[in-house]
C-alpha cells in the first residue's frame, strides 16, 4: 500500500476551506481521499470508486446531501456503505435529517461542534479501525 492505511474516504463538501481542512487531515492520517463539491458529482464518484466511507454535507449545489443519500441507498452497493453526515444544521431540530438517520449506517456530526480530530476518531470507530 502506497503509504496509506488502505481505507478510501469520499468527502462531499461544497465549501472549499472546509473541504481542504478535512482532506488534508485525512491524508495526514493515512487515508486515501476522494473529493467532490456537489451531490451529483459525489454520487457518480461514489458509484465509480466504491469508497469505504462517505463524509457528506447537506446544503450543496446541483444535488443536496439528503437527496444524494436517498439515491445512494437505492443502489445495491450504496445501500450498505457507511455515511457520516457533516452539517451545521442541528439534527435535533430537523425532522428530515432525523428520519434519514434512521436509514442504514448513517451518523451525523455538527461541524462547528466537532474538531477534525473527533471526525477522524468517528471514521475509525465506524470502520472498526
Amino acid at each position: 500500500m502506497d503509504g496509506t492505511n488502505g481505507k478510501k474516504i469520499l468527502v462531499i463538501e461544497d465549501e472549499k476551506p472546509m473541504l481542504d481542512a478535512i482532506s488534508d487531515t485525512l491524508k495526514q492520517n493515512q487515508f486515501s481521499v476522494l473529493t467532490a463539491d456537489n451531490g451529483k458529482d459525489g454520487f457518480d464518484l461514489a458509484l465509480k470508486e466504491h469508497p469505504d466511507l462517505l463524509l457528506l454535507d447537506i446544503f450543496m449545489p446541483k444535488m443536496d446531501g439528503l437527496t444524494m443519500l436517498e439515491t445512494l441507498r437505492s443502489d445495491s452497493w450504496g445501500n450498505g456503505v457507511p455515511v457520516i453526515i457533516l452539517t451545521n444544521l442541528n439534527p435535533d431540530a430537523d425532522q428530515t435529517i432525523k428520519s434519514i438517520l434512521e436509514h442504514k449506517p448513517a451518523f451525523y456530526l455538527i461541524k462547528s461542534n466537532v474538531t477534525l480530530e473527533a471526525i477522524v476518531s468517528k471514521i475509525k470507530e465506524v470502520l472498526n479501525m
Binding site: 472546509m18 488534508d24 462547528s112 477534525l116 480530530e117
Partner: protein, 499 residues
C-alpha cells in the same frame, strides 16, 4: 324647640371648630339676616357683614329658585326643621354656587321671639367632581380604544363583573350588551388555551396576581389574536379574596414581531456556524501539526483565536436552542434513559476543566433509581447547563456536589441538586436569574464568555417536559440549584407548542 341661647353660641366663631365648610346664618321668621358667621361671608364670595345683615336672605337665592325656597322656609315655622333644601345662590361676583340648606327654628323661653338658623352647605365642588369623574372616564375609554386595551373588575363577594367597552370589543362583543363573567373568557379562548385561563384565575386568587397570554379567534376575520391578560387581587384581613382587577391587551402584533425576530436569530445562528467551523478547523490544524516557522508566542495567539471562536460556537448553540424552544420547533422524542448514565456522560465533557481547576467534584446517586422517560437532547442540555454553571462559577480548588435522588415531596419525580462553593448570586440579582440573557453582576466580572442563556434554557425545557427549577444562593459562599423532573413527561401535547 331649641333655646335661643344655644343659637348665639353657634355663631361664636372663636368656639367653633371648623371641620366642615358649612356656613351659618341667623335669620328672622321673614328671612331677614340677623347675623352671619365668617364662613358665610366667605362662601358668598367675600361679602362684608354690612352687605348682608339686615337684608333678605332670599336675595341671595337665584330668581328661579327664590319662590320655592321661600315656601319651603315656611315649613320651618311649622315643623321646626328642614334639611337638604337644594338651590342655586349668587355670589358677590355674580357666579353661582349650588347650596344645600338646612334650617332649624329657635324660640326664646317666653316663646315670643323666633329665629331660624340656616346652615348652608356648598355642594358645587361635588358636582364638578362628578363631572371630573365623567371626564376621566371618557378619556380612559378613548385611551383604551386607541391602545386596544381593556380593563375589568370582578367583585368576588357578589360575583359581579364589570368590563370596559374596549374589553367587549377585544372579544368582538357589543359593549355592555351582555352579562360577562369568567366563563365568557374561557368560552372565547381557543380550545388549547381554555385550561390556561382556569389556571390563571386560580393563580390570581391564590398568589395575588397573574399574567397570561392566550389566543382567541376573531369571529369575522377568523384570524388568531393574542391577548395578554394581567390581574391583581385584593383581600380582606383574613386573606379572603374580595375583588380582582385586571387588564387585557391585544399583543398579536408583538407576538408576530417576536416570532420573526426568533426566526431571524435561528437563521443567523445557522449561518454563523459555517465560517466558525472554518476558523476552528484551521486553528486546530495550525496548533496540532508541526507547522514550520511558528514560534511559541504565535502558537499562543492562535490558541487565543481558537478559544474565542469556540466560545462563539457555544453562544451560537445556546441561541439556537433558545430559538427552537421559543418557536416550539424543538423536537421532543421521549425515550427511556438512565439519569445517572446521562449525567456521567455529560460530566465527561467537563473532566478536563475540573482537573485543571482542581475542583473537588462529588457525585451521589440514590440506589435503584427508576428510568426516566424524556428527550435525550433536552436532558443532556439540562445537565450541561447546570454543570457548566457550577464549574465556571466556582473558583479553583472549590467543591461541587451533584446529587440525584427521588424527590421526597413530589410524587414520581426525580430531584437533581448541584451545589457549589462558588461566587454565589448577589441577593439583588436573585429574582432575575431565570431571565433571558441575564448574568449576575459578580459573574460578569469573574467569568468571561457566559451567555446568560443557560438557566433560561433549562426553564424552557422544563416547561416543555414538566418540572421545576429553583435555587438557594449566598454571595461568596455558593449556590445550589435544584431541578425536579417527573419520571414521565407531563403535558405531552404541549411539547410541540411551547407558546
Amino acid at each position: 324647640m331649641p333655646d335661643l341661647n344655644d343659637n348665639i353660641a353657634l355663631l361664636d366663631n372663636s368656639k367653633r371648630v371648623i371641620l366642615f365648610p358649612e356656613a351659618i346664618l341667623i335669620v328672622d321668621p321673614f328671612g331677614n339676616v340677623i347675623n352671619v358667621d365668617q364662613q358665610a361671608l366667605k362662601m358668598f364670595g367675600g361679602l362684608t357683614e354690612q352687605e348682608i345683615v339686615g337684608k333678605s336672605f332670599f336675595d341671595l337665592i337665584v330668581e328661579q329658585d327664590k319662590l320655592y325656597v321661600e315656601q319651603t322656609f315656611q315649613k320651618i315655622l311649622v315643623e321646626g326643621h328642614i334639611s337638604d333644601l337644594q338651590c342655586n345662590a349668587t355670589k358677590k361676583d355674580g357666579t353661582y354656587l349650588r347650596a344645600s340648606l338646612s334650617g332649624t327654628l329657635f324660640i326664646d323661653k317666653l316663646g315670643t321671639s323666633k329665629e331660624i338658623t340656616v346652615v348652608v352647605h356648598d355642594i358645587t365642588p361635588h358636582l364638578s367632581e362628578l363631572e371630573q369623574v365623567k371626564e376621566t372616564q371618557r378619556q380612559l375609554a378613548e385611551a383604551q380604544q386607541i391602545a386596544r386595551f381593556g380593563s375589568w373588575e370582578w367583585d368576588i363577594i357578589t360575583n359581579k363583573f364589570h368590563w370596559t367597552d374596549e374589553m367587549y370589543k377585544l372579544f368582538s362583543l357589543e359593549p355592555q350588551k351582555i352579562l360577562v363573567d369568567n366563563d365568557t373568557l374561557i368560552e372565547k379562548a381557543q380550545t388549547e388555551d381554555k385550561e390556561k385561563i382556569k389556571e390563571f384565575i386560580a393563580t390570581s386568587l391564590g398568589d395575588g396576581s397573574g399574567i397570561l397570554d392566550f389566543r382567541i379567534v376573531n369571529p369575522e376575520s377568523k384570524a388568531t389574536q393574542w391577548l395578554h391578560v394581567t390581574s391583581k387581587t385584593f383581600y380582606d384581613a383574613a386573606h379572603k379574596p374580595l375583588r380582582m382587577v385586571g387588564t387585557v391587551h391585544d399583543v398579536t402584533h408583538e407576538k408576530e414581531i417576536d416570532e420573526v425576530k426568533t426566526q431571524f436569530l435561528s437563521l443567523a445562528s445557522h449561518q454563523m456556524r459555517g465560517p466558525l467551523t472554518t476558523i476552528n478547523w484551521n486553528a486546530e490544524m495550525l496548533l496540532q501539526q508541526q507547522v514550520e516557522g511558528l514560534s511559541e508566542s504565535q502558537k499562543k495567539y492562535i490558541q487565543e483565536l481558537y478559544n474565542a471562536s469556540k466560545r462563539i460556537v457555544l453562544l451560537t448553540n445556546d441561541l439556537l436552542t433558545v430559538s427552537e424552544l421559543e418557536l416550539g420547533r424543538m423536537p421532543f422524542k421521549p425515550e427511556k434513559l438512565s439519569l445517572s448514565k446521562i449525567a456521567k456522560r455529560v460530566l465527561e465533557d467537563y473532566e478536563r476543566t475540573i482537573a485543571e481547576k482542581k475542583i473537588n467534584f462529588k457525585e451521589t446517586y440514590a440506589e435503584q433509581l427508576p428510568e426516566i422517560e424524556t428527550d435525550l437532547f433536552l436532558l443532556k442540555t439540562i445537565f450541561h447547563e447546570l454543570i457548566a454553571n457550577a464549574v465556571n462559577y466556582t473558583p479553583p480548588e472549590g467543591t461541587i456536589a451533584m446529587n440525584i435522588s427521588i424527590d421526597p415531596k413530589r410524587a414520581n419525580t426525580f430531584l437533581i441538586a448541584i451545589s457549589d462553593s462558588g461566587y454565589g448570586i448577589p441577593q439583588a440579582d436573585q429574582e432575575k436569574v431565570f431571565s433571558k440573557m441575564f448574568r449576575a453582576t459578580n459573574a460578569k466580572t469573574k467569568v468571561m464568555g457566559g451567555t446568560g442563556l443557560g438557566l433560561y434554557i433549562v426553564k424552557l425545557i422544563l416547561k416543555v417536559n414538566g418540572g421545576e427549577i429553583w435555587f438557594s444562593s449566598e454571595e461568596n459562599k455558593g449556590s445550589t440549584f435544584y431541578v425536579a423532573i417527573p419520571f414521565v413527561p407531563k403535558n405531552m401535547d404541549s411539547a410541540i407548542k411551547l407558546k
